[in-house]
């Protein structure tokens, strides 16, 4: 079982590596969206400092959702998803490995870029460590929960907008706790509470989301 999981992970990472140019897209999207805010709101450090946690988190959330849209697309179109469901291994495990591969490919570069953007938005240095910690705990939740929505819409021709409608309300708790923690950290307040909540959400979605995702994929396959 572990073998199947690792094979799947390896396959997805290899596929991503073969399409290196696509890897940069979510990252560029993330950077550009964050850059738009100072242009729209004005370059005052005081304001930027206040909105930095929210802006970085909203941008990360959108980047994660938009890149997630294609996570099952090619496998759905060429039929390998059906073969996965015919294999003797539990589909939820294979789905989990696909989600983890996606997280490694998109969210980890996002995390590497985030401190730079935090500096651009004048986020105090005390906040940057917590920002990374919230991204580490929060982005897997986004990938896991988002995968359910993607699995439901994968068979549809224009699922993009619908995906946003389905998934964004479910992202709200992550956004609240993560951005709140970064804001508190920037003010020098303790952040252990929201971080614990994020961790709890990660555990919950790690256990339940793969099951829901595989059920949804089974429906999409018909």
């Amino acid at each position: 079982m572990l073998n199947a999981f690792l094979t799947m992970l390896q396959r997805d990472l290899l596929l991503a590596y073969r399409h290196r140019s696509e890897l940069a897209n979510p990252l560029l999207f993330f950077v550009i969206v964050v850059t738009l805010f100072p242009l729209a709101i004005g370059p005052e450090p005081g304001i930027l400092k206040n909105i930095a946690p929210g802006v970085i988190w909203v941008a990360a959330l959108l980047a994660s959702m938009l890149s997630l849209e294609s996570v099952f697309r090619t496998d759905f179109n060429d039929g390998s998803l059906e073969l996965m469901f015919l294999s003797p291994h539990p589909p939820s495990l294979l789905v989990l490995s696909k989600i983890i591969a996606h997280w490694l490919i998109t969210a980890v570069p996002l995390m590497l870029m985030a401190p730079l953007l935090a500096v651009l938005l004048h986020l105090p240095t005390e906040g940057i460590g917590v920002l990374l910690l919230t991204l580490l705990l929060g982005t897997p939740v986004l990938s896991l929960v988002g995968a359910i929505g993607v699995a439901l819409t994968v068979g549809l021709r224009r699922g993009g907008m619908l995906l946003a409608l389905l998934v964004l309300p479910l992202y709200v708790p992550v956004l609240i706790f993560a951005a709140g923690a970064v804001r508190d950290a920037a003010l020098g307040l303790p952040v252990i509470g929201p971080l614990a909540f994020l961790g709890a959400m990660l555990v919950l979605s790690l256990t339940l989301a793969p099951l829901a995702t595989s059920a949804a994929l089974r429906i999409s396959l018909g």
Partner: protein, 248 residues
Amino acid sequence: MWKFIHRLASPKHFYRIAGKWIPWLMAAAVILIALGFYGGLVKAPADYQQGDSFRIIYLHVPAAWMSLFIYMVMATSAAIGLIWKIKLADLFATASAPIGASFTFLALVTGSIWGKPMWGTWWVWDARLTSELLLLFLYLGFMGLQAAIEDRRNAARAGAVLAIVGVVNIPIIHYSVEWWNTLHQGPTVTRMDKPAMHISMLIPLLQAAAGFQIYYFATVLMRVRSLVLQQERRSGWVRELLREEGVR
């Protein structure tokens, strides 16, 4: 008893029985809502703090209760439809969604109208308002997903998965939003010790709430009936029915 339930699950019998129930349910709903509104809008004393403007509670609170109640009914029947493959349960979920969305919208609008004199603003980013708004998005997502999938069977199953995921998430969303920011007054009715409302104000509220609930059942039966007709349009009994009604 079981035989009755089994028969009820067959579209043909359901259509007939629901047709008989609807007028009675509607009448009961109208009477209860009228009683509740009369008691609340005319007879109940004015609030010592909020004056007469508290009276919108008789519309706002039942609508807000219904918005949650209908989501639970929708998710439960969708789950029943998913697990036991009962077509009628799927139709109940599909039919409930627009009604629930309307009640959610009503609760938001009345809350906003109530908020203007009380808080001095139409909208605040308060916990309960925000979670009600998110509930509206969940309803709209459910409806959007079902509308986007052409195959009716798949649409029902996909909607069921989404509704169940939503049920797991509603408490999380609710408490996270509550933790985030709150200005709304605390619950007045569902407290464990004693309601914080005078009995003369409470009774009309409960009447209105019961009326709303029965109204929901009546409308959902109407919607499910028409969905049944649509889905079974090729079956014999529908054709016979149409012939009896004189429709070609």
